[in-house]
Subunit: 675 residues, 3 copies
């Protein structure tokens, strides 16, 4: 399975199905995802199952060699369920019960709803477990999406109590951990603990963090209900779920555990302005690297953008070449299969402007042609690097616990954990250094450099691992707001950086949230001196063995260290006391890379990325021009240009706007990658 | 009846009434509107009627020759009704039931409330049907105002179900029309359909559009309850209602049907910032043209601004001359009677800063003097053009269905149907071409040019009429997003512009919502080349018989057509694939006007408008200087200046800031208007 | 008692208490406030009291000579109260009942909650009334804070009815006063009157004002419940409450009446952006002057900033010297005792980033050192001016009724009563003229100048007092929107400035809220002509005996008076018809000061303030440099520099950034203050 489409035969007349299958085959489509919103069509009334239409669609596609992945339609409980069990309707954090009319109008802890799911999913699983065209399952759809702040109903609150009791054992332990003595919030029974519904002032931050963890675990548990059934009934079919990059409602490391592989929905263009930062090349790349990181393996794109997106608003139309470019981009970062969303464009409902490959008219146009071309040129090579990784020597630690804690208390209105992570990521990205996004449970020994920004909450295991990592020769980068809290979101009663003080060789006696006053950093170590403003935060640092690489340039702590380096046994521990602008970050990452021996794959202009997948016979390098203008890179001799040959002149490869090239570096060459 | 005031004797001591009547008479007032908020005063407890105070006020005014229009006070149910029947209180779209304390705190579908209305209106009607001073009725007050997003209570939902059943007949027909198969929203009974209360994600756009139509019909139906009684009890008195220009809650074409004539509340200055675009001269003119268009006849102004407006905030004070100017302005566009809001200024309550002619002190000041002067100078001429129209040769199609559909899905955050309409209107307005605003039910054959922007929903009857209109020689202008949807807000499965493809001779294979990337147009047809940016949307057009008048100037569709013209039988069909800036619009409207033979009344500087009413003995032209500086126009010989003579020097008429002139062009002149 | 800290022994292990007491003693701390949020710790279950831990803490501190002020913990009802009596939970103005989880999750009218308070406070009072270390009580905490828009529950509504009945006697009197005839809102019984919960449109402004007054009175009444008990049980201990400057929920003049003295929480740096205007030096000074004004006596600071503040966001860190500077600043304006918030920094809960003197690590750092130094250098002098006032010759009238009325109807979106007051205050402040902030109940005869801006509501007593004040020779400044309303928020049916017309010798026939059109003023009286824009409002004034000092400079009322002065018997009554920019204000205040004989204490650069407290042996002047740069002032010979001597060179005192000086002017000198 290399390329597919999301397909909704139920949205159109039966008369189109044969033609659709034929055109899919023409385009090179080998797999479809179907049925993930079709509960009402498969069970129009309780216990009345109708899979006939779907059987038929599967067979029509199957005859053309197109396999099927089935979605469990649990994101869209039909109206007859809601009518009968309105208590299933979810309650948002304003205490407002939401109604039928969109999707995900359900509470995920509600046992009645789970019973409906058990009944239906078993029936569906039994029906399809032996269907030769059905190869796997997708659970539900984009867990957390639409749900957003849901649900805080009595059922969820009660399950929260059980979750807390399992975690803390006794109410006294919880009171201690949360510091409920503050503002007389001491509880005598778990049942007294509120869901974080509106209260005068704010809730206890420890409660808020545990609520986020509980909500994440609830989703994992909710998925488990149907996974258990599918595993039992369909042992020969895979199970996946479509993730959403840096979406923040679920710990994807946890959610991935029960899946055979993860899938991802990649929308580099979006109709909502607020998501514009999520459409920059480095963010998109980092999201794909997270997807690969959730299981440290390659993945599917279950929804790859195939046209303008839209609900009430509509995005720009993808420029000619962009659909192709983003396909290469997803593959470059570890996707083995690309499923385009969607085959056609729905004529009705909320997503009637979420454009698929075919427009509303179903007349194949430039998007169809571009997808077809993309498949034709990429297909021959994909088996060579299937399952291949970039063999990154740099890792960035990403943790949902840190993100949630920093959402609860962002300190500065402009502080965003993901964006701060991205500023480090971009330091590597601009130098074409492959990066893995890793969890705090990961083994870091494979990395020459590990960057772990905003390690706000301290977990003793992670802490110990990091000491060991540096001791053994690793280069570790930590940042401002590290070691502030314990794992329960209470403050560690130590001089900062708390448990990391020895490792870093510094003490932080004061800090300055950059609300009223500005600040900047000047790099003073080595040749190229740089001076650049910072925006969010400055730690005021005293050296306790470390040396200073950069100093602040104004106010009462001018000329005190802002970036430090400490030798710790065989390794180096860097501390960045502030946020860094792009120039300073490039300088800093350059320093760390040189010191640790990490090298970029190639030099390239801004927003021309070079990404590697290590294949069976060589390294495959993807050169991707995210710019709307031409851009050139210089090639080395041993490189074989597989796609884009016609754009090579001498040793210069000149990519068109949104142009791409695929290059093989065979393993016999001097460049052979270790490991 | 030429001039009147809104009068609230109940707000003041009885001792002022005689003096008020005397001063009104002095100012030239001939009619008052009274009682539209006085239910509690007329029925202080259920079944205890007290009309004595009103009888007395009517007589005092009547003795001075001042007639009375009575408002039914159904916008303000007294507290004793709410106390007894709290279920009458309305529920907003957040599901929140609103309480007593303002006005319009009532659901319009509630039968208990309708019973209260039936009882009270009949009593009031019987009491006044033979009063010689009472000439007519106003129903309620500004339907939709204050109500805004109301009401979504169970009664309304249930009436919505009935409305849907009448429209669709069967639930299957509704499921098909709405495409409820999307997201498993299929219904088996009408009773399952939700009101559009909060749901995760968005509601089905077809549901949302039908809800808006239902809400509009409900208001028409709600008005009908009292109209039926009034028609029966008061056969010799007229019935009207005060509209609010482009207010969007009710289809005014429908609401107007049951009325003898419509009235309008015109507030060219407003205390709310958000309504500032509604106070530009072209918007104000277009609103008046819509009012005339609702019944294609002249109308009343029931509330004409007479001072600063205000609730918690206060508007600027009208500049000296503006009250006079806006009076001329309303009359110029078709008002036969001007009723000023209000006689005095209330000392208490929410509208204590909504200033009337008299200030809080009741000491007549400059506003009184200006109103008095205005009445004196205008009165002698008003009978000559009473009922007269502008005899417009250009029409602009306005449709509430289109507006609602585009509010539900505006595509681009900056897209506003009324504002886009206004950009076309302004093209004519700046050239002093009279324009009618017409519904999609109208006969267009009288117009040389018809502009129908954003014909987003396709109605087969309108479609056919437009083909016929062009066939017969008409010049039709259509725009971007035409023919996209069917009448149920589902997408038409055709290449755009859908049903209008043949008429326009183009195909639209792609389009670009201008979210991330900019775009511009250059006019290339004929002499004056213009280049100007566009902001919202670009259709990417292939000519299929049409010719291009202007092309895009950048990005991958640079040099492709943006404005086209197609010869279709005897007529011309223009297509504008984008929004136009003011220069481009002027050029385009100039082109269309020349081609179709439409001419402006006069040349004038920016914001000096010239409007025509065709009278019994000649054309009456109103020259109105909306600017805060002097402005001049050039007069022709045959023109008789009735008001403003002192500002003519040679053939030049120089108007003061906010100055006006009234000019007669007798029918014996060469300029005589046909028809 | 000169210096103290807020201390929370319950937040930390018992093992720290001795050390804490020792370090406090070292720093010069003499008093702590404790227990104001510790209800759950003192009564873990209903009727089970545990004061042992607190007794112990009090003794440990007492042994070091540190006295205790106890807070009644009624801001934090424990969860067991809420669990048993959920009807205590408050309802906000959206009709939403808020839950447990923050603080102040209680309705203040609820009798069940009051019973809980009566039981607990009596128990606590009896326990501590004879404790030799306990010197006084603080009621609750920051009344109104957290409560914000609370509570509008049925209990509150019912109490509102009783309040209205007490005020108006009969429902007819209320109907008349409120003008409920408007929009048929006439009531027949008090029980029908709504709380101002959401309604279509706005509520009656008279209802809204009375609601604000009722809410304020309710807080006073709520406090009275515990004060009555404390007075009875603890006759030898004082009672205070911690106010919050210009916080708007309670009339602090009323709330102060039942207290021995008031306390204030002063946070010159805040983590919420919206409060930034509240952190300018003149605002901070004015807030302290209001605190002194509430009882016209000196006061305590119960919470003086001692570190960065923060909840979910964090403020900048106080610059070195700022904690010291703000300590001097509070004392300069009348504080006799400074209690720093807080001793240490809490490790858990909502306020874990509200930094105290000690950081989370408890390792004393620069803040500890700065506080210690401040206490050491200030302590020797504080007894000399304890109880001393600035002997101001200028007063500014501040009224909660005016503020509430102008919040309900701000006229212009930018109009803010406090900010307009501050523009006058700053006129004096920049000239180092001491100012009292006084209520409308005050005796004004002691002031040479009285400024009473925005006297929007007219109270007959105040009106009469102001006539008498001017008659007797006072200089009175009134402004735009004076005399508009009666005390019930209905408009006075007179030509403006209403009851003040004779006093001011002007008539205002029109006014212009500056929404669409700009305006400016030019000063024409005397030498230095100034021209400056105004922003909010312009009264259009006719002189009726007054003379003009400044005129408008544009539009139709150009060259008409904008600032006037009227001779009225022995005094002068000034009228400012607009808001003034800083230059015009300086000119105007200069004019008024010269005319009335008011002089500044010293000349100083911008934001270097000089404030006086008259002591037993001389005037004490505080010179405070709020700037982040050096600043110099010139000293006179007779002045003895007590603190800051080392910065005097010749007669020039040069203060460091945030530097301060304390100067004595002994009474034998020529400068001796009268009175």
């Amino acid at each position: 399975m290399k390329f597919g489409v999301d397909y909704y035969p139920e949205h159109i007349s039966r008369s189109y199905w044969e033609w659709d299958a034929e055109k899919m085959q023409e385009a090179g489509i080998e797999v479809v995802r179907m049925a993930e919103f079709a509960w009402a069509k498969m069970e129009p009334a309780e216990g009345q199952y109708d899979f006939g239409w779907l059987d038929e669609a599967i067979v029509i596609l199957g005859r053309r060699g197109i396999k099927t992945v089935l979605g469990t339609p649990t994101a869209t409980p039909p109206v007859w369920i809601i009518e009968r069990n309105p208590e299933i309707l979810p309650v948002n954090l304003q205490g407002q019960r939401l109604g039928f009319g969109g999707r995900h109008h359900n509470c995920q802890s509600n046992e009645t709803y789970r019973d409906h799911i058990r009944r239906f999913v078993r029936e569906m699983a039994k029906h399809y477990n032996n269907n030769p065209h059905v190869i796997g399952w997708q659970t539900d759809n984009e867990f957390g999406n639409s749900h957003l702040q849901l649900c805080a109903c009595d059922s969820c609150r009660s399950r929260f109590h059980q979750w807390l009791e399992r975690k803390y054992g006794t109410i006294d332990a919880l009171n201690d951990a949360w510091g409920t003595v503050f503002w007389s919030q001491t509880y005598s029974r778990f049942e007294q603990i509120p869901a974080p519904l509106p209260t005068p002032n704010s809730h206890n931050p420890s409660l808020l963090l545990d609520w986020r963890r509980f909500c994440s675990d609830l989703i994992v548990d909710f998925q488990k209900v149907q996974i258990d059934i599918l595993r039992q009934e369909c042992p020969n079919q895979f199970i996946t779920h479509n993730f959403m990059g840096f979406f923040d409602k679920t710990d994807y490391f946890d959610l991935a555990k029960d899946l055979d592989f993860v899938s991802h929905d990649q929308y580099p263009m979006h109709f909502r302005d607020m998501r514009i930062p999520m459409t920059t090349p480095s963010h998109l790349s980092m999201a794909l690297d997270l997807m690969r990181g959730t299981k440290q393996q390659s993945f599917w794109i279950m929804e790859q953008l195939a046209g303008p997106t839209g609900w009430e608003l509509i995005s720009s139309t993808p420029r000619p070449g962009q659909i192709r470019m983003w396909t290469y981009h997803s593959i470059a970062h570890g996707a083995d299969t690309i499923v385009y969303f969607r085959w056609d464009t729905c004529l009705a409902g909320t997503e009637q402007y979420w454009h698929g490959i075919l427009p509303h008219s179903r007349i194949p146009g430039r998007r169809f042609a571009e997808v077809k071309q993309t498949i034709q040129e990429l297909s021959p090579y994909m088996e060579y690097f299937r399952g291949g990784s970039p063999k990154a020597e740099a890792g960035i630690l990403f943790s949902y616990d840190q993100e949630w804690a920093l959402q609860i208390q962002p300190h500065h209105p402009g502080l965003n954990y993901i964006e701060l992570l991205r500023s480090y990521y971009k330091g590597f990205y601009d130098a074409n250094v492959p990066v893995d996004i890793v969890s705090d449970k990961e083994d870091y020994s494979r990395y020459k450099v590990l960057v772990a920004p905003l390690l706000f909450l301290t977990h003793p295991d992670t802490c110990q691992k990091l000491y060991e990592y540096v001791s053994a020769g690793g280069h570790l980068v930590l940042s401002m707001r590290t070691g502030v809290k314990d794992w329960n979101n209470a403050v560690v009663p130590k001089m900062l950086p708390g448990e990391f003080s020895d490792l870093l060789g510094i003490a932080i006696e004061d800090y300055d949230c950059l609300r009223q006053f500005g600040q900047g950093l000047k790099w003073t170590k080595g040749a190229a001196n740089i001076e650049e403003d910072v925006k969010l935060w400055s730690d005021i640092i005293t050296l306790k063995g470390a040396e200073s690489l950069a100093e602040y340039n104004r106010d009462f702590y001018a000329n005190t260290p802002g970036i430090t380096r400490n030798v710790y046994n065989k390794g180096r521990a860097y501390y960045v006391g502030s946020d860094l602008g792009p120039e300073m970050m490039a300088r800093f990452i350059g320093e760390v890379s040189t010191a640790s021996g990490v090298k970029g794959l190639m030099e390239s202009p801004e927003n021309v990325e070079v990404t590697r997948r290590c294949g069976h016979d060589g390294d495959y390098m993807f050169v991707i021009n995210h710019n709307s203008e031409d851009a050139s890179v210089k090639l080395q001799e041993a490189w074989e240009v597989l796609v884009g040959k016609e754009f090579v002149h001498g040793s210069v490869l000149t990519l068109a706007p949104y142009g791409v090239a695929l290059i093989r570096r065979a393993y016999e060459s001097e460049w052979k990658t270790e490991g």
